[in-house]
């Protein structure tokens, strides 16, 4: 027998399970970041490959939607910061060994490129918005309209940049987690490709949802089918990799093989998020029905979020330390007479 019990109080996250490091804010950001990356890559691809006329949603509307989604994601990222007043410090320094620092700088590059791509698609995608912006007092005719025209003229280089930055953003969301040696469940090089493929898959799913033509819906249905197969292969390799890992990795993967996250992982992510959409999108190959395509897309988006949620939650529960923690917040509360909840601050 070997038992390690805390003789003193320790309420640090990682030891006290109720104190999480990262919550829904980070899972949401990783999901929306991956989704925006997928939209950027496919939008850029339709422009570069000359499909823009046949895929109006992907070419013209997707960049603006991606911009809004990425903005929401950056908002939840900001919500997660414990010391929000120092947020500008991310841009006072590039720490080359920190993936989070690289990610902050990638976001600063992605945002303007995505915004210019959105402007380029505005006249065809959202004519009413383009008209409204063009009629803005003073800046409308002098700045906005010429800028939209300029973006339209340099659309191909912008699309190329968008693909490169989109792939960077998609991989980064996985590399951020896989860089932490201290969290065995995250410490797999497969996380980068897995998150990229998942991001592309959710991007394709949103293209199906918004598709302007039947041809566009079919195109992205077939693309998404391939991506789901690739994602299933990667997640299978990830589990095998963990099972063949050291003791820490084996106990980490046990969280999704019978542990606390098993149902969410297998029923939620693999079942609802990958297997059912796989069948639905395969059925779309023969016969396209809008409700089927819509259901498949919504499920893929749900699966994309569940992947991030399970990864973020499970990863931070896995650690090198393994104490039997006797810390009981209830006892601390009983010791206090003024009635303040000592854990209310968490």
């Amino acid at each position: 027998m070997r038992e390690e019990v805390l003789a003193s109080v320790l309420a640090n996250p990682g030891v006290e399970p109720t104190l999480a490091i990262w919550g829904w804010q980070i899972a949401t950001y990783l999901f929306l970041g991956g989704l925006a990356a997928g939209l950027m890559v496919f939008s850029g691809w339709t422009v570069l490959s000359g499909r823009a006329a046949r895929t109006p949603f992907a070419a013209n509307r997707a960049p603006l939607i991606g911009l809004v989604l990425l903005g929401v994601g950056m908002g939840t990222l900001f919500l997660d910061l414990e010391r929000k007043i120092n947020v500008w410090r991310f841009y006072a320094f590039l720490h080359e060994t920190s993936p989070m620092s690289w990610g902050a700088w990638i976001l600063i590059l992605v945002f303007p490129v995505l915004a210019l791509l959105a402007l380029a698609g505005l006249p065809a995608g959202f004519p009413w918005l383009a008209g409204k912006l063009g009629r803005l007092p003073i800046i409308g005719p002098r700045a906005v309209t010429p800028l939209i025209g300029l973006c339209g003229r340099v659309r191909r280089p912008l699309a190329f940049l968008g693909i490169a930055l989109g792939i960077g953003l998609g991989i980064y969301t996985g590399v951020l987690l896989s860089s932490f040696n201290a969290r065995p469940f995250w410490h797999s090089a497969l996380l980068g490709p897995l998150f990229l493929v998942s991001g592309l898959s959710t991007g394709a799913a949103l293209m199906i949802l918004g598709a302007g033509t039947k041809e566009e819906r079919h195109l992205f249905g077939r693309i998404d089918l391939g991506l789901i197969v690739a994602e299933l292969a990667l997640i299978f390799l990830f589990v095998i990799d963990m099972l063949n890992g050291d003791a820490l990795q084996r106990s980490a993967v046990a969280h999704v093989l019978g542990g606390s996250e098993t149902q969410l992982f297998w029923i939620g992510f693999i079942g609802l998020g990958l297997a059912i959409p796989l069948v639905l999108e395969a059925a779309m190959w023969w016969r396209s029905m809008t409700p089927i395509a819509g259901a498949a897309s919504v499920l893929v988006l749900l699966g994309g979020f569940l992947l991030r949620d399970v990864m973020v939650t499970t990863g931070q529960q896995t650690t090198w330390t393994s104490f039997n923690n006797q810390f009981n917040p209830g006892l601390l509360a009983r010791l206090r007479t003024d009635g303040e909840n000592p854990n209310g601050r968490f």
Binding site: A11, N12, K84, N86, F93, M100, S101, F180, N181, R345
Partner: protein
């Protein structure tokens, strides 16, 4: 690099947790949180049991992953030594360092929101004093000093006694040593 180390004698430690209380007093640690903690390890099978107490804290690793993971450079080495400190004016509270620490030694200071941790009491060490936990230990089980100096008490203890560090396989090169 000035190489500081802490050496803790598990043979004389009685698990009184005085080091934890001294740390709270010295560093104004928020209630319910701590920079150091004591673990009681029981091994064997009844009636042949052995107990060992271990006072744990940040290991002030020579290769600290919390320093490399910090996006803003707030988590840094103090004054060219291996003592890891957090610059609260640069810390965004992104918690990358908490995820990066294999010893779970970091915490969020409340209500300010920056990341707190054991600093080896740099405010005392810079004047040549021992950290509060070492100074207060009633069993004289804790020692602090320079590993660069072969005549220091920590260097001599490590040369004379069998010792170990926590999870050296992390590759972080921890600098809190335990004597068996």
């Amino acid at each position: 690099m000035t190489h500081y180390a802490m050496v803790i004698d598990t043979r004389t430690c009685i698990g009184c947790t005085d080091c934890v209380d001294a740390c709270r007093m010295e560093n104004n640690v928020p209630e319910g949180l701590c920079y150091d903690w004591v673990v009681e390890i029981t091994k064997g099978r009844y009636p042949n049991l052995t107990t060992e107490f271990r006072s744990e804290r940040c290991n002030h690793c020579s290769n600290a992953t919390c320093v490399t993971a910090c996006p803003t450079g707030a988590s840094q080495y103090w004054n060219g030594s291996n003592i890891v400190v957090v610059d609260a004016t640069k810390c965004t509270g992104c918690k990358a360092c908490i995820a990066a620490c294999p010893y779970d030694a970091r915490l969020i200071m409340q209500p300010q929101g920056y990341i707190g941790k054991c600093t080896f009491c740099v405010q005392r060490v810079q004047y040549g004093e021992d950290p509060a936990c070492v100074a207060v230990c009633p069993a004289h089980a804790m020692h602090f000093g320079l590993l660069d100096d072969p005549t220091s008490n920590v260097s001599r203890l490590l040369a004379e006694r069998e010792n170990y560090t926590l999870h050296p396989e992390t590759g972080n090169e921890p600098n809190v040593f335990y004597l068996r």
